[in-house]
C-alpha cells in the first residue's frame, strides 16, 4: 500500500481509446489501468494483460467441493449414522450424485465470487480511490503510473495529443482501506508529492 502519483485522462470514443492504449504502450509509459463503464471486447489484449487465473481457481474450488461432499456423505451414511432408506444399500452412490453436483457448483460459484471480489479489491466497509467518477457512467478513464523518472508534463501533453480530455495529475492510494463511501476519510498516509521508484 502506497500513495503514488498518476496521470489521468478521459476518453469518449472506443476507437480513440484503443489507439491511445497502443501509443502509450509503445512509448513505454506504465499503464496502471483503464476504467470503463462497460466491458470492452479486446481491451485486455490491447493492454497486454495476461489471461485471468480465475477459472483455475474455480476448478480447484469445484474439485474441493466434490471431495468434501462425497467423503462426508459416505462417512455419515456408512460409518457415523447408517440409515435404512427404502432397503437401499448404505453406500448408495446414485442418490448422492445430485448433492455432490450441487455442492461442487456451490463451492465453485461462491469461491470464484469471493476470489473475484478479492482480486478487484471489492468488499463491504472498504474503500478505494476513484480516479474519475464518470468512469461508472460514460467515460473511459486511462490512468498512467509515474515513477521517479517520469516527466508528468510530458505524459500529460502526450495523452492530450492522443485524444484524452480532462488530463490531470493525482496522488492516490493504490490499495484499499477501511471506510465507507458516504463519509470522507483521511488516508492513513496522506502524503503529497510522494514518489516511489
Amino acid at each position: 500500500m502506497a500513495v503514488k502519483k498518476f496521470v489521468v485522462a478521459c476518453f469518449d470514443e472506443e476507437d480513440v481509446l484503443f489507439k491511445a492504449v497502443k501509443q502509450v504502450r509503445k512509448a513505454g509509459y506504465k499503464l496502471h489501468d483503464v476504467y470503463t463503464p462497460m466491458p470492452i471486447h479486446g481491451l485486455d489484449t490491447a493492454m497486454g494483460l495476461r489471461d485471468t487465473s480465475l477459472h483455475t481457481a474455480g476448478f480447484v474450488y469445484g474439485i474441493t467441493g466434490t471431495t468434501i461432499a462425497l467423503s462426508s456423505i459416505s462417512w455419515i451414511f456408512t460409518k457415523d449414522w447408517p440409515l435404512n432408506i427404502g432397503g437401499k444399500p448404505h453406500l448408495a452412490l446414485p442418490a448422492w450424485i445430485p448433492i455432490t453436483f450441487e455442492f461442487t457448483v456451490l463451492m465453485a460459484a461462491v469461491g470464484m465470487v469471493l476470489t473475484f471480489c478479492y482480486l478487484c479489491q471489492l468488499a463491504p466497509f472498504v474503500k478505494k480511490h476513484h480516479f474519475h467518477l464518470r468512469a461508472t457512467d460514460d467515460k473511459f478513464v486511462m490512468v498512467i503510473e509515474c515513477n521517479g523518472k517520469t516527466n508528468d508534463a510530458e505524459v500529460s501533453s502526450f495523452l492530450s495529443a492522443a485524444g484524452g480530455t480532462e488530463v490531470n495529475i493525482q496522488h492516490a492510494e493504490t490499495g484499499w482501506w477501511l471506510g465507507t463511501y458516504d463519509k470522507e476519510q483521511k488516508l492513513i498516509a496522506d502524503k503529497t508529492e510522494t514518489v516511489t521508484a
Binding site: H41, F59, A95, I97, P98
Partner: protein, 410 residues
C-alpha cells in the same frame, strides 16, 4: 480469393469416400450372409438400424444447429454456416436408406419389434394405439420427407442471396423474418420427432415393455453433440485446406463449447434415466439395465463394459480434455475430441440397440461388421458434403449477419 470460393474436391478425398462406401457395402453383404438369413436375423437388422438411425440423426443435427442459431438471432456461425448446410444435404441419401431399412424391418418377417405381434400380451395390447405397423410406417416416412423438404427450404433461403444481394435494410429485416419463420417450422417438427416420438418408435420400442420419458432427450443429446463434433471436423478440414478465410479460433472455440456443454447434458440424461428408476423403486423398469449394468446375483451384464466405456469417453474425456480454453482453440485437440465423441456416441447407440435384441452376450463379429457399416455411412456423408461444398459458395457473403461473424470475439 475467387478461386477459394468453392471447394475443389481433392482426389484423395474422393478415393477415401468411395473406399469407405465400398467397405460399408461389403460389410452389409457379409453381415447379411453371416447373420441376416434364417430364423433370427435381428442382429443384421439391428446393425443396419443402429448405423442408419445414428448417422441420420447426426447429420440432421446440423440443420437443427442452423435453425436454432437462426431463431436465437445468432451471427457468429455465419462465417462457416455453409459447412453445416453441406452436412445437412446428407439427410437426403441417409434418410432414404433409413426409410428403406425401417420399412423392411416392419414388413419382412424379421421378428425385430415384438410389438408387431402382441398375441394377447396385456401391455402390448394396451400400447397398440401407438405401437402399430401402419402408424410406424406413416410416421417414419412423414418424418424423413419433412426433414428433407424443410432442410432444403432453409438451404435455398440461404443460397438465394449469393447472387442477388439485399438492396436495403428493410429487405434485410424481411429476409431475417422469413428465415426465422421457416427455422421455427423446422424446429417444431424436429421437436416432435427427434426430441420425442421418433426414438420411441425406432429404438425404444425394441424393448416394447419398457419405457423412459428421458429416452428421446438422451438420443437427441447424443446425436447433437456428435453433430457438433462433425461440424468441427469439417471446419478444421476446410481450414487446413485453406478455405473459410473468415473462420478463426474464435468460432472454433464456440463449437468446442457446444461439444463440451452437450457432453455434460448427455451425461445428465444418462444418469437421470437410471437414477429415477433406481430411486423410485420401480423393479419392472430395471429390465433395461439388466444386460447393461448387472444381471441377477450382481454379476456384470455382458454389455456393462461398453456401457461404462461410453460413459468414460463421452463424459470424462470431454469434461477433462475440453475444459481448458486452449484445448478448444487447438486443431489437434479438437480433432481428437471430435473423433472420440463421435465414436463414443456410436458405441452408445450400439449398446442401446444390441443390449436389447441380444441381451445375453456381445457378438464380436457383429460388432466389427457394424463398424464396417459405419464406415460406409461416413463415406456417404463425405460424398454428400464434398458435393454440396463444391457447388455452393463457402461463405454466405450477402447475409446481413456475416460481418458480425467476421468480427466475432469470444
Amino acid at each position: 480469393m475467387a478461386s477459394r470460393e468453392f471447394f475443389e474436391i481433392p482426389k484423395r478425398y474422393k478415393t477415401w469416400s468411395a473406399g469407405l462406401i465400398g467397405v460399408g457395402a461389403l460389410s452389409v453383404i457379409i453381415a447379411y450372409i453371416a447373420y441376416g438369413r434364417g430364423e433370427h436375423p435381428q442382429l443384421f437388422w439391428g446393425a443396419l438400424l443402429q448405423n442408419s438411425a445414428f448417422f441420420l440423426l447426426v447429420v440432421n443435427a446440423s440443420m437443427f444447429f442452423i435453425c436454432a442459431t437462426t431463431l436465437a438471432m445468432g451471427g457468429w456461425q455465419m462465417s462457416f454456416r455453409r459447412v453445416p448446410e453441406a452436412i445437412s444435404t446428407a439427410v437426403v441419401p441417409i434418410g432414404i436408406i433409413t426409410a428403406v431399412v425401417c420399412l423392411l424391418i416392419v414388413l419382412l418377417p424379421t421378428h425385430f419389434y415384438h410389438w408387431q405381434h402382441p398375441d394377447g400380451d396385456k401391455i402390448l395390447e394396451f400400447k397398440k394405439g401407438f405401437l402399430n405397423t401402419p402408424f410406424y410406417i406413416t410416421f417414419t416416412l412423414l418424418t424423413i420427407v419433412l426433414w428433407i423438404v424443410l432442410g432444403r427450404k432453409m438451404r435455398a433461403l440461404s443460397q438465394e442471396l449469393d447472387n442477388n444481394p439485399l438492396p436495403n435494410a428493410e429487405a434485410g429485416r424481411k429476409y431475417i423474418f422469413k428465415n426465422t419463420v421457416w427455422a421455427s417450422v423446422f424446429i417444431a417438427w424436429f421437436g416432435l420427432t427427434t426430441m420425442s416420438t421418433l426414438p420411441w418408435f425406432w429404438l425404444m420400442s425394441i424393448d416394447a415393455h419398457w419405457y423412459s420419458t428421458m429416452y428421446s432427450w438422451y438420443t437427441f443429446a447424443s446425436t447433437f453433440v456428435s453433430g457438433m463434433a462433425l461440424i468441427a471436423l469439417f471446419v478444421i478440414y476446410m481450414k487446413n485446406k485453406g478455405y473459410l478465410e473468415y473462420t478463426n479460433n474464435e468460432h472454433l472455440h464456440d463449437i468446442g463449447k457446444f461439444m463440451f456443454a452437450f457432453s455434460i447434458f448427455w451425461t445428465y440424461l444418462w444418469f437421470s434415466q437410471y437414477m429415477l428408476i433406481w430411486y423410485a423403486n420401480i423393479p419392472e423398469e430395471t429390465v433395461y439395465f439388466k444386460s447393461r449394468i448387472s444381471a441377477q446375483g450382481h454379476d456384470s451384464g455382458p454389455y456393462s463394459g461398453i456401457f461404462w466405456l461410453s460413459f468414460v469417453i463421452n463424459f470424462l474425456a470431454p469434461l477433462l480434455l475440453l475444459m481448458r480454453r486452449g484445448a478448444k482453440r487447438n486443431y489437434a485437440s479438437m480433432v481428437f475430441m471430435a473423433v472420440v465423441i463421435i465414436f463414443g456416441h456410436w458405441l452408445d447407440f450400439y449398446q442401446m440397440i444390441f443390449a436389447s435384441i441380444d441381451p445375453t452376450h456381445v457378438n464380436k463379429g457383429m460388432f466389427v461388421l457394424s463398424l464396417g457399416i459405419a464406415a460406409g455411412f461416413i463415406g456417404i456423408i463425405m460424398n454428400s458434403v464434398g458435393n454440396a461444398m463444391s457447388k455452393t459458395p463457402l461463405v454466405a457473403k450477402n447475409h446481413p449477419f456475416t460481418k458480425e461473424s467476421i468480427i466475432h470475439h469470444t
